[in-house]
Symmetry: C2
Subunit: 473 residues, 2 copies
């Protein structure tokens, strides 16, 4: 970390700890420069960073202030307990969401697409462009089924930040996190097996369970601390569960970061009942706070955690580059990977390896993290402002998705149909549940909140909700 | 087709029909120019084409001659009949073949890699390079789960050549033919099901059957006409077969093209017993003769054929762009595709669509077809020359692979170990069989026969075979 980032973090922590209160004036640039023995411009940079993160507010000629406390919607309720393992449904709705390519007239608030317009992506595109012209064996031929060795080395370096020591030879490159997850599931489960999942949960996993003929056991999940360990223990006692699949860091769709103690406790449970853990960390590097949270994998001692991720949320989904660190299941995962796609596209792997090795990844992440932190504030404000009173919303700690809960009985699939003529699309809550729960919920994307028409689209969603609620009386 | 190509084809047919015999002098350039009313340079071009294809031989100052009949090795024997459906093995050997990335010191005669150095690929690389710099939504974001609409349109146009009328909305882009095949298998079969296959057969399919817990029923296959229809009928009568999976056009590894009548008859059988056909056409466009053979799919009336292919053999495998036309199984294939990779990499799809739409694909195919036809002649000569007497070899009608059969009891896995210090690798025959048959066979690649060290490598293979045979006594 550079000097200004250190300082920004220190001030940020003080604000969050309540040392400065909403409305307080913060120390002047000069005072901080003297206190910390850094240059004026370093302090200014730190303040700009905090401003970007929505933690301070400049007032012309008077300095920096702690913003007035925002009125935040209440948190969503803890999801209801699962009764039993179920077969997954909801494919039709998922298909609707994913068969429209982006870029048309539709404002797709529903999809999990990051901002791909950042200038910090440019070096990646330059590498891609340069490598494309080479017509070399590495670029155009079959590579190893494990993936490009250079990229695996970079991933091995990156995971150190989440507390993991994983040598390159234990990492397999995949075609997106989708392939990481589906090979992981196939590597540890058979058709008919039961998989415990956090709930709500990523629809890709739900659909993979469906496709492989497995059953999902949805566990109650707290919008702040994640999957309920009590419920999990009970379930492990009661059912022959084969694996636990979850997204504990910057969860999709809820945005929470499971506390480290809970991660450790979950691992202990998995050891006690001898089940595998499929950990999805796709949003983990987009935690707003530095350093990023540790993975469950980082505590794993007997190789039972299959860590899955991709660069789809941190860089660009169109690259389709993901990876899996499958622990003791490496051999089975390799077989599944071979049969599913043989190997992944070479050029994006080579370009990505260059990009990371060239030191371009961290600056990009920094930029995106603060942009998304800002996006969360804006989106939350809009929901407060434009959605009916009583609306609940998540308080994501990373990523770029907001989960919104409306009154019981509300139908977000109907909402989507209502929004269609207005060219707005949200993700209906029901696709995040195996059993089609969360019909009264929806997920919205705030990756590019300042792009044209986003605020208007969110407002439109709020109005359509009000209309539907009025109809229902 | 241009004038000279027409003329070359006409002369080629005459030679093949025996109108001119080995050793015969062919009509002079002037005579042909008068006979066909074309320019002298057109005739010269036609002769050069025939020379490239190994059909004529120039002799300085005397004109063109039909080459002396080559001494060809005898064809491999018809593969033995299957006794019963078996679980697939041989993963270790496949893994060995596919985990070494190409481009090192090893001469990989064993892998299915086309020549990726052709200048006719340049426009594709230019497109890739240009599109890479765009940082657009189409390039970097999630596309539709079906794949890029532009590319699907081009594929729809290309399949006309094989007699198929398939609208773009019935085509799904995949991550290589691997993904096309594995989604196809999953779409029509359940674990435990029996799939009838040609034999020897592509190891990727064998391994997919293994991974999905299905059984392979290997059918006797003729090295000239393909899968035995009599054996297939018997098997359909005897076993609850769910699907037939085969590569009928320019088969891997045998290189035959199944006669059109057999293709029709196979479809009729499939209809009668109501089973699906998974047709792999990955090498179909590389048939040496124009026009390319028709697919079984082209006769399909009730959507029971799932046609799978990719651009891995015709262009470059590193792109990982394949496709499937799943007929009546479209919805199930879409679900399988979504769970396996979500969607395929965007940039190669867009570049490929441009390349085909720009008219660059056909000239490339033409060039590769005649290069590979030439490669076949060279490789066959080398096998005649350097391999022990009694060696049998396929006579491929397309593609760039030669299948070699040695005396019963020979062990091509041992051969590979023997070759290791010489930095040469062949594909052992056993990976092309679910039950590990064909240990006495091997497959070699002749995509780049004139590249440095290839002839020497083949010679080395021959010598090692002789050494092993001598040891065995
Ligand atoms: C939690 C989670 N896991 C996995 C994925 C799939 O990622 P990829 O696009 O890399 O396949 C997503 C994307 O939507 C996701 O939100
Ligand atoms: C007959 C056959 N089908 C499919 C494949 C796999 O092709 P792809 O590299 O496009 O996945 C191959 C490649 O080895 C093959 O020979």
């Amino acid at each position: 970390m550079t000097l200004y980032m250190n300082l920004a973090e220190l001030l940020g922590t003080r604000i969050e700890q309540g040392l400065y209160r909403p409305g307080d004036r913060l120390p002047s640039v000069r005072a901080l420069s003297q206190e910390h023995g850094v240059s004026l411009s370093t302090v200014q940079q730190a303040y700009r960073q905090l401003e970007d993160d929505g933690l301070v507010e400049p007032r012309p000629k008077s300095g920096y202030f702690v913003p007035q406390a925002r009125q935040r919607p209440a948190l969503p309720m803890v999801s209801r307990a699962a009764q039993r393992p179920v077969e997954v449904s909801q494919w039709d709705q998922v298909l609707e969401l994913i068969s429209t390519p982006p870029g048309g007239e539709l404002v797709q608030l529903g999809r999990g697409i990051p901002d791909i317009g950042a200038p910090t992506l440019k070096p990646l595109l330059r590498s891609l462009s340069r490598l494309s012209r080479r017509q070399g064996i590495r670029e155009l031929s079959y590579g190893s089924v494990l993936g490009d060795p250079g990229l695996r080395e970079q991933v091995s370096r990156l995971v150190l930040d989440s507390g993991c020591q994983i040598p390159p030879e234990d990492i397999v490159i995949t075609t997106g996190c989708h392939e990481a997850l589906s090979t992981a599931i196939r590597a540890v489960c058979e058709p008919g097996d039961i998989v415990a999942v956090d709930s709500p949960s990523f629809h890709g996993v739900m659909q993979a369970l469906k496709g492989f003929g497995m059953k999902a056991l949805e566990l109650p999940t707290d919008p702040v601390s994640g999957i309920s360990l009590e419920a999990l223990e009970l379930a492990l006692e009661q059912w022959p569960i084969k694996a636990i699949q979850l997204t504990p860091s910057c969860n999709n769709p809820l945005g929470y970061i499971m506390p480290e103690a809970n991660k450790r406790a979950l691992l202990t449970l998995a050891q006690r009942y001898d089940v595998a853990i499929i950990e999805d960390d796709i949003y983990g590097e987009l935690a707003y706070k530095y350093p990023r949270p540790r993975t469950i994998k980082s505590f794993d001692e007997d190789g039972r955690v299959l860590l899955c991720s991709s660069f789809s949320k941190t860089l660009a989904p169109g690259l389709r580059i993901g990876w899996i660190a499958p622990g003791r299941y490496l051999q089975r995962v390799l077989h599944m990977k071979y049969m599913s796609t043989g190997m992944s596209a070479q050029l994006p792997q080579l370009a990505l390896a260059e990009f990371i090795a060239g030191g371009h990844y961290e600056p990009h992440l920094r930029r995106m993290r603060s942009q998304y932190a800002r996006g969360r504030e804006l989106m939350t404000d809009w929901v407060s402002q434009y959605f009916p009173p009583g609306t609940r919303a998540s308080q994501p700690q990373g990523g770029f998705m907001l989960w919104v809960e409306l009154e019981a009985g509300f139908d977000s699939q109907r909402l989507n149909r209502q929004l269609l003529p207005h060219k707005v699309q949200i993700a209906p809550g029901s696709i995040f549940s195996a059993a089609g729960k969360y019909r009264n919920c929806l997920r919205m994307n705030f990756a590019t909140p300042q792009a044209a028409g986003i605020e208007q689209a969110v407002r439109r969603v709020g109005e359509s909700i009000a209309e539907l609620q009025a109809e229902q009386g």
